[in-house]
Structure formats: C-alpha cells, structure tokens
C-alpha cells in the first residue's frame, strides 16, 4: 500500500471522529451527518482495501489505483457539498421568508396596539 491511501484512511478517520463529535455536541444535526459519515466510511474502506481500490481503478480504466482513489474521493465530496448547498439555499429562502413574516406581523401588531390605544383614549 502506498502512502496516499494511508493519508486518505487517516483523513477519513479524522472526518468520522469530527462528525461524531459534532453530532454529540449538537453542532451537526443527525440528518446532516449521515451523508458525511457515509462518504467517510466509503473512503476509509477504499483506502484500506487493496482489492476495492484495484476494482475502482479497473472501473475507471486507470492503471493507478491511487488516482482512482482521488477521483472517487473528489466525486464523493462534490456530491455531499452539492447536497449541502441545496439544503443551505432552501433554508436561506425559508429563513428570509420567515424573517419578513415576523417583521410584518410585528408591524401589524404595533399598528393594532396603537389603534386600540387611540380608541381607548377617545
């Protein structure tokens, strides 16, 4: 096994530990941790298994298994990041709509209070 798969295995382990720590401290919600854990486990198994790495190399028509590992790694992270971007965009839209709605409701409540106050005074 070359040095690169060992580095990838170490990085995968670090990612798994970081994600689990994030979940335990409630910094990452469980539903968002699944994709990262899945990606890290896949990378870890590819890095540790020579046969899996060779199989990935054959699948990608590459004689260099470490190049195949890099391609698979890149693809996995692109997918996970794309999914995250989709979620973040959706949440941002929902957040903007919610903030606008809160502001409008506060405004209308304030107007109603003023109306009631003026009627009470009259």
């Amino acid at each position: 096994m070359g040095r690169l798969p060992v580095v990838f295995a170490a990085l995968s382990l670090a990612l798994i530990l970081a994600v689990l720590r994030g979940v335990r401290r409630a910094h990452i919600r469980v539903e968002y941790s699944v994709a990262w854990l899945f990606a890290a486990l896949l990378l870890l198994s590819l890095s540790l298994s020579d046969s899996a790495l060779r199989w990935a190399g054959t699948l990608l028509d590459s004689s260099d298994p470490t190049a195949a590992l890099l391609v698979v790694c890149g693809c996995i992270f692109v997918v996970v990041l794309y999914r995250s971007s989709l979620r973040i965009s959706g949440l941002k839209d929902a957040n903007i709509a919610l903030a606008q709605r809160v502001a409008i409701l506060e405004y209308r409540l304030e107007s109603l209070d003023e109306k009631i106050a003026s009627q009470t005074t009259a």
Binding site: A99, Q100, A103, I104, Y107
Partner: protein, 242 residues
Amino acid sequence: MTTRNPAPGKLLILIPAFNEEGAVGDVIGEVHAVMPGVPVLVVDDSSADGTVTRAREAGARVLELPHHLGLGGAVQAGYRLAFELGFEYVIRIDGDGQHDPRYIPGILETLQKTGCEMVIGSRFVAGNGVHFGPMRALGIFFFRSVLRPILGKPVHDPTSGFVGVNRTALGVFSRSFPLEYPEIEALVVLQRRRFRFVEVPCRMRPRRSGRSSITAVKSLYYIVHVLLGVFVNVLKIERRRK
C-alpha cells in the same frame, strides 16, 4: 412638475435602510415636504446605529427586520407589507439621500398616466447624465448592452434604485424578488411577465452619509452574480414561451 397627491392609502414611499442614521431623517423630511400626507415606510435591515430612532422621529413608520437580509430582502419585505395593506403604488427611494424626493411626483404621474408596471428614475435620459469613475461607467454600459436584447428596448439606467411600481408589479415582487442585487434582475423578472417599464429623467445627488455597499472588491462578484441571475431568468422566459 405636479405635486398633486394621490388619494389617501394609494401611494407608499418605501425607504430601505441599513445604518443610515446620518441621512434617513432628512430624506423623510424632504419626502414629507414634497408629498405631505403620504405615508413613508422605512424598512430597517437590522441597523446597528440609530436609523430606527431617526426614522420614527422624522415621522416614518418602521418595518424592523429581525436580522440582516440584504437590500433585496429588505425591499421585498416592504413590497409584501404594501401589497397586504392594499397600496396601489409604491415608490422606492434610497435612505442615503442620493435620490431627490422632488422627482417622486413625476414618477407617480408617469405610473398613473402610462399604466406601466414600473417607472425608473434615470440619471441618463434627457441629458441628465452624471459622471462616474471609468469602472462604474463601464459596468453600466456592459449591463445596458446585455439587457438590450433581453428587454427588447434600451434601458439607460439599469442600476437605479429610484423606482416606482404599480399594484400588479407589487403583487409579483412580493412573491418573487431578487434578493442580493435586485435592480437589474428585477427588470428581467418584469420582462418574464411581459410587463412594461419606462424611464423618467431625474438627477441624483452624492450620498450624504455612510458608504456604498458595492466596494471595488465586490464589483467582480456583483457582475458575475447579476449575470447569473439574468441568465437564470432568461431561461425561465424561454421555458414560459415553450
């Protein structure tokens, strides 16, 4: 220029503001002087200074956003409220004093007479040209050229935020409005709906306080962001045609 006021409850002056305590009070005072009795709504985009206090002291109503949404989010919040309250026309001016409120009656009159969905206060029509730095002038020229074939007619001042809309456009913008750099994309949103716009001449002044949100570093990001937004909206136009 006429200063005839519309019927009560028909027109709202919308001022999006973010850290504009140095100018917003004077702007509101000028609006009241030009359009007495017309309600002024300041949308405060979570300012850290005394913008809200100054606006209230000057006699405006304030819509306070719970956190910073950016220009588009603030303007859309104002449009949403105006639409829900039943206003017929909304004219948006900046809170930094760059837009001269004396041109509001002209924009309102054009909205009413032409029936166009949107009227833009333009720095470049009827010889009202102003001088910018070469980069900004190049940017405006670039966007004019990009928008010309999309809109089917020239637009002289696509980045102007001095804009009046009628209730039809208000309904659309309250549901769908570009959130970050809204002026240029809003024109393409209008085109998607086959709405009409017209430009009227107006003079703009130097800002009285604060700094422009568009710095030199942000300019490139601005161009890419707006181009992408325009492109996406053009794709929506094409899909609608099919």
